[in-house]
Structure formats: C-alpha cells, structure tokens
C-alpha cells in the first residue's frame, strides 16, 4: 500500500502544473500555467452549465427520478470511451517503463497506479457533470443533505467501473497483439475493430429490442433509461442508493468497484511484463541492401515523417484517424442502405424530407473528418526530437507547412469519398456535388490551419506521455470543442437556410466564408511559427 501511494504521488507530481509553477523561475512559463488553469476552469464551467441545463430539462419533463441513472450512464459512457482511447498510452509502452520496473514495485502495482493516475487526472471532468446533475436533482427532488453527501461520495466511484472495463479491453487487445511480429499495427487494427463494434452496438441492441416487440417500451423515455440501467447494474445501484436510500445498493457499488479493481489488476499484472516487453521490442530484419533513393521537397519530406510518426503510435493513430474511419463507415453504409434509410435511422423516423439535409452533407462529413486535426498535436509531439528540425536549415514556416500538408493528405481523400458517396446516394445534382467537394476540401484546409495555429500556440515539448498532448493538451481542447459545437450548429443552420436559399448558392457562400477563415487561420499559424 505504501508503495502504491508513493508511486501514485510521484506520477501525479511529475506531471503536476502546480509543481512546475512552484519550482519554476520563468515568469512566462508561470503565466502560461495560470492561463491553462483559467482555460480548464472555463471548460469545467461550460460542462457544468451544459449538464445543469440538461438536468433542469429532465426535471421539467418529469424525469426527476431518472436523473441519477442518467448521470451514471452519461459518465460511464464518457469514461469508457475516453479511457479506451488513452489506455494504450497510459498503461503500456510508456516512456518510464524500464525505470519503474527496475525498481522494487510489483507489476500489478505499476499497472494499478498508472490506472489510478489516469482516473485522478480525468476525475474533474466527471465531477463537473455529476455535481451539476446533483444540483439539478436537488432543485426538483428536495433531497436531504445526507443524500447529496452520498451522491458526491458515490460519484467518485462511478467512473471507475467503466474505466476498468475499457482498460481491460485495452489490455486484451494489447495481449492479443503480442503474438504478432508487427504488434503495433495489429494493436491499431484491433482497436479500430473494437471501436466499430462499440458504435454499432447501439443499433444491434435496438434491433434486439425490436425483435422482442419491446419498441413500445423504448418509446417511453423513463422506461428506456431504466432498461439501460437494468443492463448496466452500477447505474441501478447508484439510483437505488440515491432515490430509495438503499444502503445495500451503495455498499454493492463500493464493493464491486474494489473487487473489480483487484481482479482486473491481478490479471493485468500477470502478463504486464510480457506485454510491455513485446510492445517495446521491435522486429529488426538487418537485411537491408542499399537501393536507389528518391529526392523529395522539404515539405513533402516533413509530411512523410509525420505519416510515419502517426502510424508508429497506436494512441496517435486511433485518436487522429478515428474520424476518417467513421467517414468511411458512413460512406459505405450510405451506399449500401441509401441516404434516406440512414437519415431515418439517425432521426428515429422523424417525419421530414431527407432532401433538406443535402446542403449539410459536407458539414456532416467534416464533423467526422475534422473531429481532430493531426496539426493540433504534432508540434508538441516533436518533444525531445525538437532539436532535429530546429538545427536544420528549414524555415520555421516550412516545418508547419509540412505538417499541414500531411493533414491535408489525411483528410481530403476521406472528405471527397464521404461527399461523393452521400451525394450519389442522395441523388444530389452534379453541379452541387462538385461544389460540396470544393466546400469539403476548403473545410479540411480550415481544420488543418486552425489546428496548426492551436498546436503551435499551445506547443508543449516537455511531456512524459504522448497521451498528455494527444488527448489532454490545451491545444486539443481549444481545437476540438469549438469546432465540434460550431459544426453541430452549422448542420442545423445550413438545413434551415437550405429551405430558403438555392443549395448551390448556399454552398458558394460557405466556400467563401470557409476560405476566408482558412486564410486567417493559416496566416495566424505562420505568424506563430516564426516565433517558435
């Protein structure tokens, strides 16, 4: 236990901004830390505000008793997905593995502490949701104080079970990939396959319910939530403890969490060394014979280097290329089942003409393809290798132009594929299809340039684990959140405008706006590049 606390404390200290602030004399760096804290608090406040508004909505439509279940289900879904995307970088193949394993720590202690570190780091996000929902619940349910205290205590445990499940799947994937020579590629493939399965799981469940003639049951919101809670027992236990004041449910939640943690890390600990050894060792054929080489431009050479950087890291590729993968799935599914069927499934058979959605096609694909730009994290990912580019005779702008070129190579083909498939399936006129292709490409350019500006502005080279800059960096938050919300708003806005303005004209207007924004973002990125 002493070892666990010591290791966990050290892990937290090594990446703590407070610690850096305390021991750093550089005023500029200190200011940056203060601003990142302010930025984080603003995001926490935004999540809190959004969750509170949603909870008030649930209360207003008479779903007060379902709020605790909704809270657990929301946090569990988020915890599961966010953990799954970063578990590989946190639990396995991390930089200080050799150092930690050479110290007198058991493998399960190291793995367990890495998990707890990941849990503590993400806890503020989940707490901002749960606290908001607790306030909303209190407004409608007038629960006594001890219930609120119980809510807060149990909230600390709620993310653990889904995080453990996600980590265990990550472990199984890592374990399965160990047997292969190119374990990194296999691990990435397995991860993508699992993500596809998770995304389609909702529809599989729905189909199962439909076959069982329980569609009527699903139509009632409260019963649908209860159905989900009966499937996911921690939600039921949490709700039982809060709504019914059941001590046994509370104890069950605590007990199962502790038991599951022990079991998972007992299993993980047994093959932890083997997995890490396999992931850290690399196949070397040592059979290279000098062949003819090709010459490329500087920018292309940097773009190629970026491609190899991405394909060499499971964490990087799964986070950056997930949107592209989803775009391909959406394209293929649309071609097979037809645009109308997809719209019906997505809108739960809402009665409207799917043709009104046509102008939104480039934005729908952009929502996926532009979800995460590689330019957002690639400046920080240079890390310790920063010296290479800095000592070479390359203009600083060229470095980032190369990074941007790679992101264009990554996004534009998927954007074009998506737009073409959806337009073909929706029978969009040729001229509009061409305009949507142009708009899609301009949106990719905007995502690239805006991501690059965020990435350079918040470049962080002193990271310990690449997850810190791929998933958690301020650059990523600054890029992702506004981008996602604005695109969601744009989809609605474009559909609305499309009912009044000619679709081709509307596309031209958006091409002009997106081009302008791209130019501004590009100039900003270049100005920032000069200062690096």
């Amino acid at each position: 236990m002493k070892n666990n606390i010591l290791l966990l404390k050290t892990l937290l200290l090594s990446t703590s901004l407070v610690n850096t602030y305390k021991h750093c004399d550089d005023k500029k760096k200190k200011r940056k830390i203060v601003w990142s804290f302010i930025g984080m608090f603003i995001i926490y406040a935004m999540i809190l505000g959004y969750s509170l508004a949603a909870t008030l909505g649930y209360g207003a439509i008479g779903l007060t008793q379902a709020i605790p279940m909704i809270c657990v289900l929301t946090i569990s879904a988020l915890a599961f997905f966010f953990t799954f995307f970063k578990t590989n970088g946190y639990l396995f193949n991390f930089k200080e593995y050799d150092m930690l394993m050479s110290l007198p720590f058991e493998a399960k202690t190291v793995a367990g502490c890495k998990f707890l570190y990941m849990y503590i780091k993400s806890l503020p996000w989940y707490l901002s949701i749960t606290i908001a929902m607790m306030i909303g619940y209190e407004i409608f349910a007038f629960a006594p104080v001890y219930v609120l205290i119980e809510w807060l205590i149990l909230s600390l445990l709620v993310p653990i079970i889904p995080m453990l499940i996600a980590s265990f799947f990550g472990f199984l994937i890592a374990r399965a990939s160990v047997g292969f020579k190119k374990n990194n590629i296999i691990q990435t493939l397995f991860t993508f396959m699992f993500i596809i399965f998770c995304f389609s799981f909702r529809y599989i469940l729905e189909a199962m319910f439909r076959n069982g003639n329980v569609e009527e049951t699903l139509e009632a919101s409260y019963e649908a939530i209860e159905n989900a809670a009966n499937t996911y027992l921690p939600a039921k236990w949490f709700a039982g403890a809060i709504v019914d004041g059941s001590i046994s449910d509370a104890l069950l939640l605590v007990g199962v969490t502790v038991l599951l943690f022990s079991v998972v890390f007992h299993i993980v600990g047994r093959s932890y060394r083997q997995i890490n050894s396999a992931l850290k060792s690399h196949s070397a054929s040592k059979s290279y014979k000098m062949t003819s080489q090709k010459k490329h431009s500087v920018v292309t050479a940097i773009a190629y280097k970026e491609f190899k950087r991405m394909t060499g890291s499971t964490t990087y590729i799964t986070n950056v290329a997930i949107g592209e993968l989803l775009a391909v799935i959406l394209s293929v599914v649309t071609l097979i089942f037809g645009f109308d069927s997809i719209v019906k499934v997505t809108t739960q058979n809402a009665p409207f003409d799917s043709a009104v959605l046509q102008p939104a096609i480039p934005f729908i694909i952009y929502f996926l393809v532009g979800m995460m730009a590689s330019t957002t994290c690639s400046p920080s990912l240079e890390g310790k290798q920063y010296w290479i580019l800095q000592s070479l005779p390359i203009r600083k702008e060229q470095i980032y132009q190369g990074k941007m070129l790679f992101n264009m190579y990554l996004t534009v083909p998927f954007m074009c594929l998506g737009v073409l498939c959806l337009c073909f399936s929706a029978k969009v006129p040729v001229i509009n299809t061409v305009l949507y292709l142009i708009l899609g490409s301009v949106l990719c350019a905007f995502s690239t340039a805006w991501g690059c500006a965020c990435g350079i502005k918040h470049m962080r080279l002193d990271w310990e684990n690449e997850v810190e800059v791929i998933k958690q960096g301020p650059a990523v938050a600054l890029y992702m959140l506004p981008n996602m919300f604005v695109v969601m708003g744009l989809v609605v806005g474009v559909v609305f405008l499309g009912m009044r303005i000619n679709h081709a004209l509307l596309a031209l207007i958006f091409i002009a706006i997106a081009s302008l924004l791209t130019a501004v973002s590009y100039m900003r990125a270049m100005a920032l590049a000069k200062k690096t």
Binding site: K286, Y288, Q385
Partner: protein, 238 residues
C-alpha cells in the same frame, strides 16, 4: 569558419550558464571544447547550432550571424547531439533520406554518401529497420551519417564518442581527419582528454561558463599532457 564573440547565456537571475565566451575555429581546425559536467559546453554548442536562443554576444558561422541569418548558418553546419533522440518510427534509411531531402542532396549523391559511411560504420544491414530497434551506439552512427550526408563546412559534435564501439570510434576519428584535410572546421566537446590530445590542433577549457584557457595544443600544453594541463588550469581557477 566559427567565431563566438562574447557569448553569454543566463538561465536564472544572476546565474550564467555561459559567460562572455569567445573563441574562433578556422577551416581545417579540429577544435576540442573541454570542461567539467555542467561547465557550459552543451549550452554553447546548442547556441552555435541554433537550437538555443541567446541575447548576449554574437556567433558567426562562415561570416553569417546565427541570430540574424540562421538559415545560412544551418545550411553549412551539421550537429550531432550527445544523446541523439531521432525519429524512432522511421527506419534508418528513411531518416537519412529525410535529412538529405532537407539539404536538397541529389539521389546519386545521397546514395553514394550513405553507402560510403554506412559501410564504414557497418550499419548498412540495419538501415531498413526502425530506429526504435537500434542500440544507443547504432542511433549515434545514424546521427553521424546524417551529419555527414551534406558535406558540411562546420561539424559540431557534443560528446561524439560516448556509446560508440572502438571500431566506430576509430572510423569517426579517421573521418574527422579526412574532413579536416578537406577544409571542414570541426568543433566538438569531450571528456576524453586522450582523444582530444591526439585529435585536436586547438583546445578551449571552459569552467563555470567561462573560458579559462584557449589556444593551439602546443601553446596550451607546453610539453605536458592535456590531462595535466587541464587539471592544473582547473586548480588555478579555484
């Protein structure tokens, strides 16, 4: 070829990592830069190659200012750090091609140079493997080849012999002599005084950020060994 004039670098208030450092490396010189750990060798070297920013003093490479004309300086310079962190996901040959592309080296020239140096360092069979699979010494060899690929006018090396096997150390020394004969200026830091003594024609000793002795090997040692000279100079400065 390299002229450092009154270069200073302050990290924290009052503490100077490099203090009024001045030295000159001519074409054809092999200039050894020696000093204790933390004396300011790497700080100076990193400023020379344009990795570290500085405000005081001037560093000129081939007549160009590192501060004002970094591109001109970098085009003629090659740098090998003490612990080269290379792009681990690239294969050795991909990394070398990347550097060759940056320096605009033709396909024929790069093939010829990569072949020559990779054969000399006996690393050709490993060039198709990812750098992450390399040992420290192999990474060092790739970093050295990447530095030689564009035939630099100034070669800057930070502890180049650390991690190299005896054969590779010998090969590197031979290459340094060969480059020196062709007019390349070599500026390198080392702890191995025997190597510096046999290899260099000029030496500077740095202590607590200040140059405490500098000159040709003969001027500095006056018939003594470099080790004796270093220890004596070091003691005199206490």
């Amino acid at each position: 070829m390299l002229e450092i004039k009154n270069y200073s670098k302050s990290y924290r208030e009052g503490k100077k990592a490099a203090d009024n450092v001045s030295l000159t490396v001519e074409s054809g010189d092999i200039f050894g830069f020696i000093g204790h750990n933390g004396a300011g060798k790497s700080t100076t070297i990193r400023a020379v190659v344009g990795v570290l920013d500085f405000t005081e003093g001037e560093i000129l490479i081939d007549g160009h200012s590192v501060k004002d004309e970094p591109m001109e300086c970098k085009r003629v310079t090659a740098y090998i750090p003490d612990n080269p962190d290379l792009y681990e996901n690239l294969t050795g040959i991909q990394y070398l091609n990347f550097i060759a592309d940056v320096f605009d080296i033709s396909a024929e020239e790069r093939e010829e140079r990569i072949k020559k140096y990779a054969d000399l360092f006996e690393i050709t069979p490993a060039l198709g493997d990812q750098i992450s699979s390399y040992s420290h010494g192999m990474k060092q060899k790739v970093a050295i080849i990447s530095a030689l690929i564009h035939n630099p006018k100034l070669l800057v090396l930070d502890e180049p012999f650390v991690g190299l096997d005896p054969k590779a150390t010998f090969v590197l020394k031979e290459i340094m002599h060969e480059m020196c004969d062709q007019g390349t200026a070599i500026f390198f830091s080392t702890h191995v005084l025997d190597v510096a003594e046999k290899l260099c024609n000029k030496v500077a000793i740095i202590k607590q950020g200040k140059i405490i002795a500098s000159g040709t090997m003969e001027e500095l040692t006056e018939g003594h060994s470099l080790e004796e000279t270093f220890l004596e100079t070091d003691n005199n400065e206490k």
